[in-house]
């Protein structure tokens, strides 16, 4: 992917805290493990040499444990924290080179952010929270309230426009956070662990809600989470971070089928493979003593969804990519995956 077709293109991004951050980037010290770097130079590298591209309309998930640098990364993309080095190009413009005024302009129109702790203003009504970005951009009250009411409909907050944040439940508050981010009709939405503070059931509702909004509006999203299940549910592609660096990047299937190292493997161990892998990954040639049935299945089908069809068949089922034969699977292959064998 090149800069022209990407919604966001991040190249060699660094964020180093400490006494002399500029000196670290590009020096041999940069490749030291985090703890050694701090010991030696007093600097902490929160984000190390991160590069990735996000396609327009994609949901790109950055996942990692606490302290892995994912929250710092997303703050670097919006310059809530100034990165030490690198470039962040959105629609052909390097955000890191923008002047303060231009940056404000971008924040008011091009991208917006949803926060873990919602970040709502307790002294303002829901509608004025949602209209805040428009307000600071000088949009008239009539216009910004009209727009805010549209987004209120969109996220299902009808009837709460005049309420104050503290009168709402956590889930509803984050709906306000979502609505606020959508109010400016941004090109890109950054979501920093948006549902981590919510109860599991509400979290699931909100994930579904975000997926619905994504389908309806087609926004490019960068979604930060520490929860793999969430990452798998909402993400097209996932980047796994550790100690400030991206360890592996790819689709859910790639990560689970081919973990780059033990860390990633550890992460994905508890994920039911049959829920993520496609039948392509287990398709194999026909053995000598087997005869194929006349049944076929598409290679992109998730194993879980293929189970019923394959178990019903009396022998190997052909796996097709379009019309090309990829291989065959039969009930035993599926049971091996579902049963957790490796």
């Amino acid at each position: 992917m090149s800069d022209n077709t990407s919604a966001i293109s991040v190249k060699n991004l660094w964020q180093v805290f400490g006494p002399n951050p500029e000196k670290i980037v590009g020096s041999p010290d940069a490749s030291l493990p985090r703890a050694e770097l701090r010991e030696k130079t007093g600097n902490t590298a929160a984000v190390r040499d991160v590069s990735f591209d996000v396609a327009p309309g994609e949901v790109f998930v950055v996942m990692g444990l606490s302290g892995s640098g994912k929250s710092t990364l997303v703050r670097c993309l919006t310059r809530l924290i100034e990165p030490t080095a690198g470039s962040v190009v959105m629609h052909g413009e390097d955000v890191l080179k923008a002047t303060d005024a231009r940056l404000r302009e971008l924040r008011r129109t091009q991208f917006s952010m949803v926060f873990q702790n919602f970040g709502l203003l307790p002294h303002r009504k829901v509608i004025d929270n949602i209209a805040f970005a428009l307000e600071v951009n000088g949009v008239s009250k009539e216009k910004r309230h009209a727009r805010a009411n549209e987004v209120i409909e969109l996220v299902g907050l009808q009837g709460f426009a005049q309420a104050y944040p503290e009168q709402l439940s956590g889930g509803m508050q984050q709906r306000v956070g979502l609505a606020r981010a959508l109010a400016v009709d941004p090109e890109v939405l950054f979501l920093d662990e948006p549902f981590s503070a919510l109860d599991p059931l509400i979290r699931r509702d909100m994930q579904t809600e975000v997926m619905r909004l994504h389908k309806e509006l087609g926004k490019t999203m960068v979604f930060i989470t520490h929860d793999l299940a969430e990452a798998l549910k909402v993400g097209n592609r996932i980047a796994i971070m550790r100690d400030g660096a991206v360890v592996q990047m790819g689709t859910a299937e790639e990560l689970i089928a081919h973990p780059a190292d033990d860390y990633v493997a550890d992460f994905t161990r508890d994920v039911p493979k049959s829920h993520v892998l496609t039948v392509r990954t287990i398709a194999r040639p026909l053995a000598a003593n087997e005869t194929a049935t006349d049944r076929t299945i598409q290679a992109g089908t998730i194993i879980r969804d293929a189970t019923a069809a394959v178990l019903e068949a009396n022998g190997p089922v052909a796996v097709l990519d379009g019309t090309n034969l990829v291989g065959y699977i039969k009930s035993r292959d599926i049971l091996q995956v579902v049963g957790g064998g490796s």
């Binding site: 926060f115 970040g119 203003l121």
Partner: protein, 659 residues
């Protein structure tokens, strides 16, 4: 048994050694002090000057001589004084002193009461407004209407000016780390500066009168406004600020639309504290010509008229309650960001309109009719109150002698005199060495270094003996404060009911000006060193109890549950778990106690406590001793800094992570 005792022997050898060292040191000190008693004490008779204090007096004179022609005065001090004088006069003319061609202020008493009631209603509730009106009316009934109005006007003027400076600086320190770093040392110094210290120097530059009283009050209250405003801005949660920034706010928009509204409660709390600080200082600023209730208080203290002093002090207390309760109610009202319902708002609007009309009618009446202009003289209970106070004091001192004279005697003979003979009646070099060694053991080498420098500076000032008198009283008062404070603190830390019971008393005790406490103490204990000590104790107990209680309450529940399940008794739980775990709070409480006590003990110079405070007060009234008074003030400052440094280093040492 032998096997078991081994770990105990190994545990904490360092701690044992430190307390042993201190004990040995004290023993050596007592013996040496006895042997060398009365030698090289540097005692200086009150009417005598040293070369240094004479020089300080000459400097003061030359500054005074420069007042009309000196450039610094012409272009700096005098314009400031004139501006503030003008500002204070405008406010006083509204409620306290006659305006130009009239014989009454702009508002007669009825008008003042109506305006106060209306303002309090507007910022809080109707009940509070009625209470405020009654409290102010009571001041008039005590025969002190004009003085009360003057105190109110002086407080108001100082508060307006303090906030005008303090809030912007506080916002700046809230937003910028560099600004915070720049103002923090000044704020810290202001916190340990005893009030009596800077009255005389300010009067030197700004003359005696309302202007320098206001400036002195501002010096005292601005740091409080700065501190709480900065604290409020910094206390705003990160995510709304980040959210605001991420939506493209300018710095100004962020401040106005996010940070200030969210910090509003803390800022109002800052206003409350600024008001209370200003009030308590305006009373003591009577010493440099502040009009108002401070005057009768000072006069009563000087002629030892407890009854009249009590009346004036009571008026101060009534005003303090009025100001504190109404500003606190305003904070209560700000508790929720959700505004009241439409029906409530309508009712309130109606109330405000009615109140406004009544207020305007009262103002008009108070400008037209004599009965509404001059507070009615028939309503005057001051003699009755003074008499009641006097007879109560007489009754207590006669019937509860063991509590008044007895307590005074026990402390004076048992603690005060022995300590005084060690500290001030032994050679100065012995005392300097010993205090430095104690500072070394408690706070380490840096603490010892600062201590020895400050002590030698005090010796050089020539007022060593008097400083040690004041120091002795400070230590004794602090020891007693801690004894009572820790008991009460543990009690409120352990029992929510005790907390609920004591909290209002502690809050009230904290808002009253220290000066006011002197009056009843003078009645109970007569003019003596113990009166200063007792006042210091009463004044500083609330803060000590609060800090200790907080520390005890913050001991983790799991720690207490673990100890309880191991079978600890209540006493073991307190002494072996809660107090050790709250050690840092105990040290902090001691530090605060020392600073508070010092500030009050020096004021005790008024009631026969002697020491530096007496010299400061004397310097204000006797021109030939003015230099000595200034140096005494400076010595108080050095003493305060020394106490604070030792305490701070001890705290730091005890809270450092162990390796």
């Amino acid at each position: 048994m032998t096997v078991r005792s081994e770990p105990a022997l190994v545990a904490a050898p360092k701690k044992i050694r430190r307390s042993w060292l201190l004990a040995i040191l004290f023993l050596v000190w007592i013996v040496l002090a006895r042997v060398t008693k009365g030698k090289a004490t540097l005692e200086l008779p009150v009417p005598e000057n040293t070369k240094f204090t004479t020089w300080a007096g000459d400097v003061a004179d030359s500054i005074r001589g420069n007042r009309t022609d000196g450039a610094a005065f012409k272009y700096f001090f005098n314009p400031i004084r004139e501006f503030i004088d003008g500002f204070v006069t405008i406010i006083r003319e509204f409620i306290a002193i006659p305006t130009g061609n009239s014989s009454i202020p702009v508002l007669g008493w009825l008008g003042v009461i109506a305006v106060i009631g209306f303002i309090v209603y507007a910022i809080s509730y109707i009940r509070m407004a009625i209470a405020a009106v009654l409290l102010i009316f009571a001041c008039g009934a005590l025969g002190l209407w004009t003085d009360s109005m003057d105190t109110l006007a002086m407080t108001l003027a100082a508060v307006i000016l303090s906030l005008a400076i303090g809030i912007p600086v506080g916002i700046w320190a809230g937003l910028s780390d560099r600004a915070l770093k720049a103002v923090t040392p000044i704020l810290d110094l202001a916190q340990i500066l005893p009030t009596l210290v800077y009255l005389a120097p300010l009067a030197l530059f700004f003359l005696i009168g309302p202007a320098s009283a206001t400036i002195a009050t501002m010096v005292y209250s601005i740091p409080i406004a700065v501190r709480l405003t900065a604290f409020g801005i910094r206390g705003v949660p990160v995510s709304p600020v980040e959210a605001g920034t991420s939506m493209g706010t300018t710095t100004r928009q962020l401040l106005r639309k996010v940070q200030l509204p969210m910090a509003s409660r803390t800022i109002i709390l800052g206003i409350n504290q600024t008001v209370m600080a200003a009030l308590s200082f305006v009373v003591i600023a009577a010493l440099i010509g502040a009009p108002g209730l401070g005057k009768p208080v000072v006069e009563a203290l000087i002629i030892r008229n407890v009854g009249e002093g009590f009346v004036a002090g009571l008026a101060v207390v009534l005003i303090a309650i009025m100001l504190d309760r109404s500003t606190s109610a305003a904070i209560q009202k700000e508790k929720s960001f959700v505004p009241p319902s439409d029906a409530d708002r309508k009712r309130r609007k109606f109330g405000l309109i009615i109140g406004g009309i009544l207020t305007i009618v009262s103002i008009v009446l108070s400008r037209q009719l004599a009965w509404a202009a001059y507070f009615p003289e028939q309503i005057n209970v001051s003699d009755k109150v003074a008499h009641a106070a006097d007879s109560f004091i007489v009754w207590v001192t006669e019937n509860l002698e063991f509590l008044t004279a007895g307590l005074s005697k026990v402390v004076t003979v048992g603690v005060l005199n022995p300590l005084e003979s060690v500290l001030s009646n032994s050679p100065w070099f012995l005392t300097v060495t010993m205090i430095t060694l104690i500072s070394l053991i408690l706070g380490g080498i840096r603490s010892a270094f600062i201590t020895v420098v400050l002590l030698l500076a005090i010796v050089a000032s020539g007022l060593w003996f008097d400083t040690m008198i004041t120091f002795t009283q400070t230590i004794v008062a602090t020891l007693l404060t801690m004894a009572v404070g820790v008991v009460l603190g543990v009690w409120i830390g352990r029992s929510a009911r005790a907390e609920r019971m004591l909290r209002p008393i502690l809050d009230a005790g904290q808002t009253l000006p220290a000066f006011v406490y002197l009056i009843p103490m003078l009645g109970f204990f007569g003019p003596s060193r113990f009166t200063a000590i007792a006042t210091g104790i009463v004044y500083s107990i609330p803060i000590v109890v609060k800090i200790v209680g907080q520390g005890i309450r913050e001991v983790p529940t799991t720690m207490i549950e673990a100890a309880t399940s191991a079978g600890s008794t209540k006493w073991q739980l307190i002494t072996k778990v809660q107090l050790p775990a709250a050690k840092k709070s105990l040290l902090l409480a001691t530090n605060q106690g020392l600073i508070f006590v010092l500030a009050v003990v020096v004021i005790g110079g008024f009631v026969g406590a002697g020491g530096l405070g007496y010299l400061v007060i004397l310097g204000g009234s006797k021109p030939q001793l003015q230099g000595k008074g200034l140096v005494a003030g400076f010595s108080i400052l050095l003493l305060g800094v020394m106490i604070d440094r030792i305490a701070q280093y001890t705290v730091a040492r005890n809270s450092a992570p162990k390796h």
